[in-house]
């Protein structure tokens, strides 16, 4: 049964990728893309319900493992992938209309989009640390193609850097995985089971600490590159700024989460084996560093998508910090923050995308008076900005509230850094966005109507999470937090 549901979840995007590889250049490719994403989302919902009702499950001779933690990411991923596909339909048409894209590029885009979803879902659901690596690599490869979609010098450069840096990072992660396996096979013996997270988790107490320490460093540096932790983040702003906006949305909203999920999985093992807070401390350190550097980098940005890329780094740092702290509250907060950040950030990228299309440039100095030219885009930007800046009653504040207060309780020394960083980030983003939203305009109307439904759906969800969390969702998160400890 579970096998079937999982199969559906994984095969639909794969199939979609195949179909779109064939029909990608048809006029209804965009609709097909959305349809596939929707089916994926539906499958993920079914799976989620199943898991919430009857606890963690393994499938396909334990090769796949689904618990409350990753099923929550699965659902999130499928959902955002779906809304993004909805958004990208008109967006890409407008891009084509502006002559930035050819049909061939669209063809590539759609198929890669599906494969990318597929890769992420694999990475999330697999139980095998090795397969996690394979899937991450695959996700990288697909997104590299997506980032370089425009074939402009800038996009090529961005893609190249992305490719090389993440390639190296991932390679290091592989070495970490090998070390993990090396430690594991001495407990679990040769063969298949030695890389299965469930088994590792059962015996984590007996794994050799020195090896795991080493392994974790490689895993952290490796997957951390994809999470965008400072100082491994260098690829992230370029890739976000130069790729098509829907891709920026899914990169920020999803891929970073997936990578972080891998880090968290390994953290559980390592801390379990070392019996101390080694991995947690490392994560906290990287998290703080990322928050600090990112927030200061925000100041000097001129390109709007680049700026929000840095804000993604900042938030990822915050989440990493939260998971690093550990404990029910912090972990809960971390997951909540993952959710709201994905939703908000993708929503912002949607709005930004249309704003940029209206003005024809990503330079913030020349984007003005969005509220005047189209209130929907303007309000989308304004509310999205305030949401991402952690203004109540939006959900981002809820998680930041928990993270900061817990930090104040557990690790007071960290809070001044957080205080400064959040203040600086607020000043930077708010100061940049205010004239963009307000004031007199410079924009021109669009050939196709923009798709802003996803924006407001996301923001509405975020608002809801800030004011009211359905008990179902709540104890789902609680269970997941309990799993990670």
């Amino acid at each position: 049964m579970i096998d079937l549901q999982l199969l559906a979840l994984l095969l639909i995007p794969l199939l979609g990728g195949g179909l779109l590889a064939v029909f990608g250049s048809r006029s209804w490719a965009a609709e097909l893309n959305s349809l596939m994403s929707f089916l994926t989302f539906a499958a993920s919902v079914v799976l989620t319900v199943r898991v919430i009702d009857s606890g963690p499950q393994v499938a396909f001779s334990e090769q796949f493992f689904i618990d409350q933690f990753n099923v929550f990411l699965v659902a999130l991923t499928a959902f955002v992938a779906f809304t993004t596909s909805l958004f990208s339909r008109p967006y890409m048409r407008i891009e084509q209309h502006h002559g930035k894209l050819t049909t061939g590029m669209l063809h590539l885009y759609y198929s890669m989009y599906q494969l990318f979803t597929f890769a992420m879902l694999i990475a999330l659901t697999t139980n095998n640390m090795g397969i996690v690596w394979v899937a991450m690599e695959a996700a990288t490869l697909t997104t590299v193609l997506l980032v370089s979609l425009y074939r402009t010098p800038a996009s090529l450069e961005a893609a190249w850097k992305y490719f090389i840096l993440c390639g190296v990072g991932i390679a290091l992660a592989l070495f970490g995985t090998i070390l993990l396996y090396f430690a594991a096979e001495r407990v679990l013996g040769q063969g298949g089971t030695a890389l299965l997270w469930t088994h590792l988790n059962d015996v984590k107490g007996e794994l050799e600490p020195t090896v795991l320490k080493l392994a974790f460093i490689f895993l952290l540096v490796g997957y951390g590159t994809k999470v965008g932790l400072v100082p491994l983040h260098s690829w992230l702003p370029d890739a976000h700024a130069e790729g098509p906006t829907p891709v920026s949305a899914v990169l920020s909203g999803l891929l970073l989460n997936v990578a972080l999920c891998a880090v968290v999985r390994s953290k559980v093992l390592v801390d379990g084996s070392l019996g101390n807070h080694f991995a947690g401390n490392l994560m906290m350190g990287f998290g703080l560093l990322s928050v600090l550097v990112a927030s200061f980098s925000l100041f000097r940005q001129k390109d709007i998508k680049r700026m929000f890329a840095y804000s993604s780094i900042e938030h990822m740092g915050l989440i990493t910090f939260a998971f690093g702290m550990g404990g029910p509250v912090a972990t809960f907060a971390g997951m909540l923050h993952m959710t709201v950040h994905s939703l908000t950030k993708s929503a912002i990228f949607f709005a930004v995308g249309h704003a940029v299309q209206k003005v024809g440039t990503q330079q913030m100095d020349s984007i003005r008076g969005m509220l005047q030219v189209s209130p929907t885009v303007g309000w989308g930007l304004a509310l999205g900005t305030f949401a991402i800046l952690g203004m109540p009653p939006f959900g981002v504040f809820a998680s930041e509230f928990l993270i900061i207060t817990t930090a104040m309780h557990e690790y007071p020394w960290a809070t001044p850094i957080l205080l400064v960083s959040l203040g600086v980030a607020f000043a930077a983003i708010f100061g940049k966005m205010q004239p963009i939203v307000f004031g007199e305009t410079t924009a021109k109307p669009l050939p196709h109507p923009p798709a802003l439904v996803p924006v407001f759906v996301h923001l509405l969800l975020v608002l809801m999470l800030g004011l009211y969390m359905p008990p179902y969702l709540a104890d789902w998160y609680r269970q997941a937090a309990a799993l990670l400890g």
Partner: protein
């Protein structure tokens, strides 16, 4: 104590592997770099084969074959074709001059061995000390990536890094599960193809493969 012949042989191969890595680090000509890469692949395949034989695990035979196919024949061939198509012959001088790089390399090797020492104590059977060499190879390739200017050399370095990892996977630990290895191999293949595509795109956009052209994106 009596060290079995196979182990001696593997250690020899490992040493050779390290030697090749150094050679690549020192090498300026791209073509010979690719050849060295092919040699590295061959050593890798051989060592995998021997490990498979000594600890008779059948799936290691497969991966040995895979390595042979992929890293000794396919990738070098691809690279050669690229060279010819893009007619790049000489690598411009590296960022840091060769002797310094070598010194760095040696330091790295020592560092890697020290790092791996406690682990090697744990390893039983034939794989004593191989982790260290694998780690050294990885770090050396990384160093190479840092110091090279051309896109192609970076890619080769990247692939040899992959080799180091593979060596660690097969020889140090007696082979990862087959699925994983297949996946890894697949990724490497695809990656290479994509690299190939990129070379052409980069060439036609910047009409050169010098990475120096790709430093436009920055904060200012």
């Amino acid at each position: 104590m009596h060290i079995p012949f196979t182990l001696q042989f593997i250690n020899l191969l490992a040493a050779l592997l390290l030697l090749v890595s150094f050679a690549m680090l020192a090498q300026r000509r791209i073509l010979s770099l690719v050849n060295l890469f092919a040699w590295q692949g061959a050593l890798l395949a051989l060592s995998t084969f021997i490990v498979a034989y000594s600890s008779n695990q059948h799936h290691l035979y497969y991966s040995a074959g895979l390595t042979l196919l992929l890293k000794v024949l396919l990738l070098p061939w691809l690279l050669h074709r690229l060279m010819r198509k893009l007619n790049v012959r000489w690598d411009v001088e590296t960022l840091i001059n060769i002797p310094t790089t070598m010194l760095f390399g040696i330091a790295l090797v020592i560092f890697a061995f020290n790092l791996a020492a406690p682990i090697s104590q744990l390893a039983e059977g034939i794989t004593r000390g191989l982790i260290g060499i694998a780690l050294a190879c990885v770090l050396l390739s990384l160093l190479m990536m840092l110091t090279r200017r051309k896109a192609v050399t970076q890619v080769v370095a990247f692939l040899s890094l992959e080799n180091g990892l593979f060596f660690a996977a097969t020889s140090a630990t007696q082979g990862m599960p087959l699925v994983v290895e297949l996946g890894i191999a697949l990724d490497v293949l695809v990656a290479t193809f994509i690299f190939g595509i990129f070379f052409f795109q980069i060439r036609e956009t910047f009409d050169s493969l010098d990475i120096g052209h790709m430093e436009k994106l920055k904060d200012d």
